[in-house]
Amino acid sequence: MISFSLREKNWIPYLLFLPVLIYLAGFIGYPLLKALQLAFSSEEGKFGLENFITLTQDSTFWKALKNTLYLLITIVPLQVILAFLLALFVNSRFKGYMTVLYIISIPLALSDVSAALMSYNIFTSHGFLNKFLMKFGFIENPIYFFGLGLSSRAFWVIVLTELWRATPLVFVILLASLQMISKDYFEAADVFGFSKWQKFFHITLPLTMPSLQSALLIRTLFAFQIFGVVWLLSGRDIPILAGEVYYQQAELNNFRLAATYGFIIALICIIISWVYITLLRTKHLEMER
């Protein structure tokens, strides 16, 4: 491959990359600068921290931040554990595992809007759950999950929906990495008489660790962008960061505050990625020593 490419003029790969770079500069780079400018400009258009002061004085901002973090802390660990168990199970390659893989994958391509409506279909007052429980006499009146003052119930419906919808995303990453583990390791372990648990802790877990970590990072980053499911199931009863971006822009027409909320989401994501990368790098170096 190297000899093959050295024969040719070396500007070709750059030329092939040029359209992408132009596009990204125009539709990501430039808007990004514009967003910064919006977030840091006052009503009269002067540079300043006015928007951030307005934001921190607004109790909704703190609620949105808190709710986003709560959702993240509840959903992400459960998702990763569930996905790992599912991946281990499917990777044991029982008869018909391809069908199970296919069924688990269906939510992968499903939108959050669709998933939210599916949940609504089950948990609403005339939904399947309530009708079922009433039919068999478990309850007298329907349990309400959505509506004013019921945000703690809606919270758990959101958690369930996200678990249903996004666990497959983690599952696929983990399965891909499990499938990469060479069979030789396990055969060698058999020779040394390793037990099942020893094999798991000394072979499977260390070898899937990088994927596990990147899945964790990706899910964490996406959790800060959660929008559709929360908005459809609870509206603004459970304020969240991305929901506030939308609300400020669409309902209040306040572009500066919307951009400020967006800036904060981006900032958190960048800090998390940075911490994650530095932590992993030090660990990596320690292992090499």
Binding site: M1, F4, I12, P13, L16, F17, P19, V20, Y23, L24, F27, P31, L32, L86, F94, M98, V100, L101, Y102, I103, I104, S105, I106, L108, A109, L110, D112, V113, S114, A115, L117, M118, Y120, N121, H126, K131, F132, M134, K135, W164, L169, V172, I173, A176, S177, G193, S214, F224, G228, G235, A242, Y246, A250, F255, A259, G262, F263, I265, A266, S273
Partner: protein, 275 residues
């Protein structure tokens, strides 16, 4: 030194496997089955509280959703946006994917990192500045604006996926073709492209689905030319329940078809796109 397993132990293992498979199937399929039932159930059955499984089915909510609530317009917009996104991201992304898979050049790692960083960045927040830019360019509230934004979102994924799919096609074929006198471009279109086509087609539909599903950016960028998810998000609160179910069902159809067609590429595609 493996212990011999008795038939009894094997039997128990089999039963446990079947139980777990059963639980997985129930957990993942129930919401899909139930929304399909609700999408076609007659509203009167839905509001009858002691009727768990509806017995009367109708297409009337599809009809009113399509024509009275003008969902057909939203569906058409969604399809147009998704197709433009798919084509645009491919035309722009495929050459870059090819460069990553076939060349070694200074700065390659930097470019790869740039693509990955773009993938990690919460691109949704760009909807706000993009709206202002599009308003100035005169393409706000249009199919083009939404497509351009969606393309920026799927481009990094398309580059990474297409590069890995093209890497799967051996360079030897291309070299052989070039020895027989084909130019590099000819070799690509006559040899590599046809071989990579199934995988590339899968990733193209992947781009379609991402655009079809995307709700946040689409909602912010459009007012009248809403895509279907944006339309649902804006109108769901005020619509009767049965319309929500029908809408959710329609949203889910392309996803289910898609998963069926690309089931062989599932693990490679999402494994790569999410890493």
């Amino acid at each position: 030194m493996k212990r011999q397993k008795t038939p009894m132990v094997l039997k128990i293992k089999q039963v446990i496997t079947i139980i777990i498979v059963g639980l997985i199937v129930i957990w993942f399929l129930t919401p899909l089955v139930l929304i399909t039932i609700s999408a076609f159930a007659s509203p009167s059955d839905y509001y009858q509280i002691d009727k768990v499984i509806p017995t009367h089915f109708t297409l009337s909510q599809f009809k009113s959703l399509f024509f009275e609530l003008e969902a057909w317009k939203a569906i058409l917009t969604s399809i147009k946006v998704a197709v433009v996104t798919m084509l645009l991201s491919f035309v722009i992304g495929l050459p870059a994917g090819y460069a990553l898979s076939r060349y070694i050049f200074p700065g390659k790692n930097f470019l790869k990192l740039l693509i990955l960083a773009t993938r990690m960045f919460p691109l949704m927040i760009l909807a706000i500045p993009l709206l202002i830019i599009f308003m100035r360019m005169g393409v706000s509230d249009s199919i083009w604006g939404t497509s351009l934004a969606h393309t920026a979102m799927v481009l990094p994924m398309i580059i990474l996926i297409s590069s890995s799919i093209l890497s799967g096609v051996s360079v030897d074929y291309e070299e052989a073709a070039m020895i027989f006198g084909l130019s590099r471009i000819q070799a690509f279109f006559k040899i590599t492209l046809p071989l990579a086509l199934p995988g590339l087609a899968a990733s193209a539909i992947f781009a379609f689905i991402i655009s079809w599903n995307e709700v946040f950016v689409a909602t912010i960028l459009t007012l009248t030319n809403r895509t279907l998810p944006a339309h649902i998000l804006k109108t769901a609160m005020a619509s009767p329940d049965y319309f929500k179910f029908t809408g959710g069902f329609i949203m889910a159809i392309p996803a289910m078809v898609f998963i069926f067609f690309v089931r062989r590429h599932l693990v490679t595609m999402w494994g790569i796109s999410l890493k």
